[in-house]
């Protein structure tokens, strides 16, 4: 599979990894991908395609779910990290924002953000970064004293991203940031995230079901299905390819689903494409 996209050296490269849960269940087969330094890469695919598993294999969260990277390697700036525990991965510069936000409900918004800086022991720097997070997410300022369980879903998503930012990552893994949010909010969050990418130099790997918006902000995209990467290419190419949109991303030219007969027909054609 070609992984070149002409930009700078990759900050992250996932090389042909295989992931097995509980020693028997094979969930990822030969997944390879690359995130260039300072780039935004989208990982697309339907529910259960293996996007979250891929992100967890990178961040090391996989092992708490009894999953294991059995083949291949994950490298951050050329150094293998797939044997490290999550704390070490965070310290080296990769933070995952988990699907479903996962804020600490009983801690206040500000405390949530401060916990994000746990791996960095200096307190003064954390305070300074708090202001930085507040400039990116002004909505959180007025909520700083609230328990995180009581703020809205959109604000929780912002908080989760802000909390990850407090660790000062080189690369942020975003798992379904659009989940369960109104389109307006999704737009707002993606705009903030891409500002983070431009202004703070945070590289991004985002797993999304919402391909339209993900491809609008990403430069490069990978499409997953059943634990494999079936396609990759420039965001522009992917979003313009009618077939890809039809088969993998559930989008049609006129924005409607086709009948099952058409789907069956396409499924057959798909094999030729991939």
């Amino acid at each position: 599979m070609s992984a070149g996209n002409g930009m700078s050296r990759p900050i992250l490269s996932v090389n042909n990894i295989e992931v097995i849960y509980d020693h028997v269940i094979l969930v990822l087969r030969g997944v390879s991908l690359r995130v260039p330094e300072g780039g935004i890469v989208a990982l697309l695919g339907a529910n259960g395609a293996g996007k979250s598993t891929t992100l967890k294999a990178i961040s090391g969260l996989l092992r708490t779910e009894r999953g294991d990277v059995t083949k291949g390697s994950v490298e951050l700036l050329g150094e293998p990290i797939h044997r490290k525990d999550p704390g070490e991965v965070v310290r080296r510069g990769i933070v995952q924002v988990m699907e479903g936000r996962h804020v600490f409900e009983h801690l206040t918004v500000e405390e949530n953000l401060l916990t994000g800086a746990y791996t960095r022991c200096e307190n003064a720097a954390a305070r300074k970064d708090l202001d930085l997070v507040y400039t990116y997410f002004p909505r959180l300022v007025e909520r700083r004293g609230f328990k995180a369980g009581y703020i809205s879903g959109g604000e929780q998503q912002m908080l989760a991203i802000g909390r990850a930012l407090m660790a000062r990552p080189k690369l942020m893994l975003l798992d379904e940031p659009s989940m369960g949010l109104a389109p307006m909010l999704v737009q707002e969050i993606f705009e903030i995230v891409s500002r983070l990418n431009r202004e703070e130099g945070v590289s991004l790997l985002l797993a999304e079901q919402n391909a339209t918006i993900a491809l609008r902000f990403a430069q490069y995209g990978y499409v997953m299905e059943s634990g494999r990467i079936v396609l990759d290419g420039d965001a522009k190419t992917i979003s313009e390819n009618e077939d890809i949109k039809e088969f993998y991303l559930g989008l049609t030219g006129v924005g409607q689903r086709k009948s099952y007969r058409d789907v069956k027909h396409y499924r057959r054609r798909k094999r030729w494409l991939s």
Binding site: G87, R91, H106, L114, T115, G116
Partner: protein
């Protein structure tokens, strides 16, 4: 009929007003016992708060700590050295528990962890008995169990020292949880293990810390209860009295454990002394559970417990 009403609503208060010094004495006794309940409840709260595990073995940890201390002292180790060694044993125990029990059960249901602590309970009980023997031991920590009289009120020195120790311990823990980086991380882990991991909080270290702290609290509780009623296996049953305290104060609140303990302690002493005679005494033994029952009906999260946040 009027006699009963008088006995319940008027008589006790007339007695209280009649002899204020005695009332103060009863209240002080209640506060002292209450704080000792709080000490045991605190151990539960710490572990529940930081790992969401209801540690069934907390009562036995109190016993085990006291047994270790007494056992060492019986073998001629000086008090201070024995205390340090007991602390080391409790921290070692925390390390073992994290290694053998908690780590393999990461991300399992709370009920599974709870059952693991039941196993731990039996293990510690048997192990303690095997190492230190099963007979009742006397614990003498150097604070004399004698009383003196201040302004007509009898004050027990041992009880007051226990109360003061408990108060200091609680103040330290409250600051630790609310203000420090580690304390914040502990609360974060309590809320969501996985999210805590995802931002790089090492669960191993955090669990080691809480179980160690709970072990240290168990030592203090063990010393206080041991000095009061001897070190014996019924000591692990004070954990039963800690349950109503937890229900009152809330499972996740350090101040709640204290206030809950005070309410239970003072409530049962007052009940025993003033209302006890109405039913022939022995209110002390069940009064706490009645309060707990009332709380379960009307305020299940307790006085200071965290509200269960549900979103739709």
């Amino acid at each position: 009929m009027t006699e009963i009403l008088y006995g319940v609503f008027v008589g006790p208060f007339r007695d209280m007003a009649g002899s204020p010094a005695f009332l103060v004495e009863v209240l002080l006794g209640g506060v002292a016992t209450g704080l000792m309940y709080s000490l045991v409840a605190l151990g539960f709260v710490l572990i529940f708060k930081a790992s969401g595990v209801f540690n069934f073995a907390q009562g036995v940890m109190v016993l085990f700590a006291a047994l270790t201390l007494v056992g060492l002292m019986e073998r001629g180790v000086p008090v201070a050295v024995a205390l340090v060694m007991t602390m080391a044993v409790m921290v070692g125990l925390a390390f073992l528990i994290e290694r053998v029990v908690l780590r393999p059960l990461v991300n399992q249901e709370a009920i599974i962890l709870f059952m693991a602590t039941i196993g731990l309970n039996f293990f510690l009980e048997g192990f303690g008995e095997m190492v230190w023997g099963a007979n009742v031991k006397k614990l003498d920590v150097g604070i004399p169990d004698r009383s003196f009289i201040v302004a007509g009120v009898q004050i027990n020195q041992l009880e007051m020292s226990a109360a003061a120790t408990a108060a200091v311990l609680v103040a330290i823990l409250a600051v630790f949880f609310q203000r420090t980086r580690i304390g914040r991380a502990l609360r974060a882990v309590a809320d969501d293990h996985e999210a805590a991991l995802s931002i790089g909080i090492p669960l191993k270290t955090i669990w080691l810390i809480v179980w160690s702290v709970a072990g240290l609290v168990a030592i203090v509780a063990g010393i206080m209860w041991g000095a009061k009623s001897g070190v014996q296996f019924s000591l692990s049953l004070v954990a039963l009295k800690a349950l109503p305290v937890l229900i009152l104060g809330g499972f996740t609140s350090v101040p709640g454990a204290i206030v809950g303990g005070l309410i239970v302690g003072v409530g049962e002493k007052l009940g025993e002394v003033y209302w006890g005679p109405l039913v022939g005494g022995a209110i002390e033994n069940w009064f706490a559970y009645v309060i707990a029952l009332v709380f379960l009906l009307f305020r299940p999260q307790g006085l200071f417990g965290e509200r269960i946040i549900e979103r739709v």
